[in-house]
């Protein structure tokens, strides 16, 4: 059940949480224990379609697609996602937990997620270890991901095409 839900287009923007409802094999209880109040779910082409709901202090929002998820990322305190959203999330300076679908072996985006994990920029887990990782991870230990040096590229290009810089 768990891996079906955590498909390619699945992303959680966790904020804080509540009780007994099972969500994709992960009890929302976990979010509550960790102090989240809201969970925003992008289900994409996912087979599981939970209903949005509110109980007590906790809210579950659900959407399929948005033109831009940048706003949702900005609002989040934690993003849980497949490997494809790494750069956008890290670029926004948000803590990221990447869930690897171990059923989908042929995914080169995993290489990037693994490297960024090695470099301390994000956490990384499988469907099965998601709950445990969420409980044990320390978001403050994540290192900021600095933007790429596009100006180095521009300087390089100008040099190879023969554009002289006039100072």
């Amino acid at each position: 059940m768990c891996h079906e839900s955590l498909q390619k287009d699945y992303m959680l923007l966790g904020v804080a949480a509540q009780p007994d409802t099972e969500c994709f094999g992960i009890p929302l209880q976990i979010f509550r224990e960790l102090g989240f109040e809201k969970l925003v779910l992008q289900i994409g082409r996912g087979l599981v379609r939970p209903e949005p709901c509110t109980f007590g202090d906790f809210t579950l929002e659900v959407f399929q697609y948005k033109d831009s998820i940048a706003e949702e990322i900005q609002r989040a305190d934690l993003v849980i996602s497949h490997a494809g959203s790494c750069l956008e999330t890290l670029g926004a300076g948000k803590p990221l937990l990447v869930v690897v679908n171990d059923q989908l072996m042929d995914n080169h985006q995993l290489e990037l997620a693994r490297q960024l994990h090695r470099d301390g920029h994000l956490y990384y887990c499988t469907c099965k270890t998601l709950a445990d990782t969420m409980k044990s991870m320390d978001l403050s230990a994540l290192k900021p991901f600095l933007p790429g040096k596009t100006e180095e590229f521009a300087i390089f290009m100008d040099r190879i095409v023969g554009l002289e810089k006039v100072d």
Binding site: G84, L87, D106, H108, Q109, E111, L112, R114, Q115, G148, K149, T150, E151, E152, F153, A154, F156, M157, D158, I160, V161, L163
Partner: protein
């Protein structure tokens, strides 16, 4: 989508001298056009007299496509990219990995071989490629003039490549 985002970040950094710009995208790509237009509109605010055009060519290969059919679809793409490159005669081709770039670069090389024009080919491998090159990368590693990688592991494995650090 990933390729487009990356190449547009690179494009943003380039001076207004790189003009006019011709973007070549796969026929089946519906999202890139909007992203390109967005960037170009902001460039128009920054710089005067900027021109750009978007061209579409058939995709040379779908993910997991078989080799025998890839040969056919690549030849099909060449039928479009060849005339495009011959007509435009660009000074520079900048590409970053989607299948569309291989027939374009082959066409550019052909122009050089025929003595018509020497086109500079710059390939920037995707930031997602940390340990292994993409298929386009493996092909263009030998065919490009400058081959950029964004992770040190790749620089070690492919000594002919250029490593400037992460540029995207």
């Amino acid at each position: 989508g990933g390729h487009t985002t990356e190449i547009l970040r690179l494009m943003e950094s380039l001076s207004p001298c790189y003009n006019p710009r011709h973007y070549v995208i796969a026929e089946t790509d519906t999202m890139s056009k909007d992203k390109i237009c967005c960037l170009e509109v902001s460039r128009k605010y920054k710089y005067a007299e900027q021109e750009y055009t978007i061209h579409k060519i058939p995709r040379s290969r779908e993910v997991h496509q078989s080799w025998s059919s890839t040969l056919l679809t690549t030849l099909h793409s060449l039928l479009y990219s060849g005339p495009l490159v011959f007509t435009l005669k660009p000074d520079l081709i900048l590409c970053n990995g989607p299948g569309t770039c291989v027939p374009l670069c082959i066409s550019a090389l052909l122009l050089g071989v025929l003595g018509i024009k020497r086109i500079l080919i710059v390939y920037v491998e995707s930031i997602c490629r940390v340990e292994k090159l993409s298929l386009s990368g493996k092909i263009l590693y030998y065919l490009s003039d400058y081959f950029l990688v964004q992770w040190p592991n790749l620089k070690e494995k492919y000594p002919r490549s250029i490593y400037l650090g992460r540029v995207v």
